[in-house]
């Protein structure tokens, strides 16, 4: 990936959001484990660790808006399309396997990891189809 200024800003946002995720997850797990959370706050607290993850998607959207190099932006758009297609396909396949009791249950948030793996797939596709220009 070409290190543009927009890409550097995106990386910083990812670092801060990942840090926020770790802190909120640890706090939420600790709170639930030690029964420190009042019943009225269980839903908001349970959702808290999800917010930085949602922020990661927003950060990607903001990067695409801020990226001034149109070719680099096109590469990332292609990567996100591959990632989304890959993650949705995996989720669909897993859903049917789970439905027919052929696999165990997988929590929905794992799809985020699959989506990020899909970005890697997209990067490989860019390289294969665009050669050196595909970064």
């Amino acid at each position: 990936m070409v290190r543009t200024s927009a890409w550097r800003r995106y990386n910083w946002r990812v670092i801060w959001l990942t840090l926020a995720y770790a802190i909120l997850l640890i706090a939420a797990v600790y709170g639930f484990k030690h029964k420190l959370i009042p019943s009225s706050l269980t839903y908001p607290i349970a959702i808290l660790p999800a917010l930085p993850i949602i922020g990661l998607f927003a950060a990607m959207g903001r990067y695409l808006v801020e990226e001034q190099d149109e070719f680099v932006r096109m590469l990332m758009v292609r990567q996100t399309l591959w990632a989304s297609g890959f993650a949705l396909s995996c989720a669909t396949i897993w859903g049917f396997l789970e439905n027919f009791d052929l696999t165990g249950h997988l929590d929905g948030y794992y799809i985020v990891i699959v989506w990020y793996f899909g970005l890697g797939v997209g990067s490989v596709v860019n390289k294969l189809t665009l050669g050196e220009g595909g970064c």
């Binding site: 190099d69 149109e70 070719f71 096109m74």
Partner: protein
């Protein structure tokens, strides 16, 4: 899209990086345009044309004209 970018760049002894800096894009962008793997937007095509002080059609070969020549 077929283009004369590599020739125009070579005439000025510019590397891809030199051209990229003048256009304020990445070297990968210049490479992708030169090799015809990426068609630049109209604003970028105009920037390229203005940099080389040529009309756009002297740098980029119109796909429709290219196909009509082939016929």
């Amino acid at each position: 899209m077929e283009n004369r970018l590599r020739i125009l760049r070579a005439e000025r002894n510019w590397s891809q990086q030199d051209l990229a800096e003048r256009l304020e894009v990445s070297r990968q962008s210049v490479n992708a345009i030169e090799t015809g793997k990426y068609d630049p937007s109209l604003p970028l095509a105009f920037r390229i044309a203005e940099l080389f002080d040529r009309p756009i059609e002297e740098i980029f070969v119109s796909p429709s004209r290219r196909s009509s020549k082939a016929i």
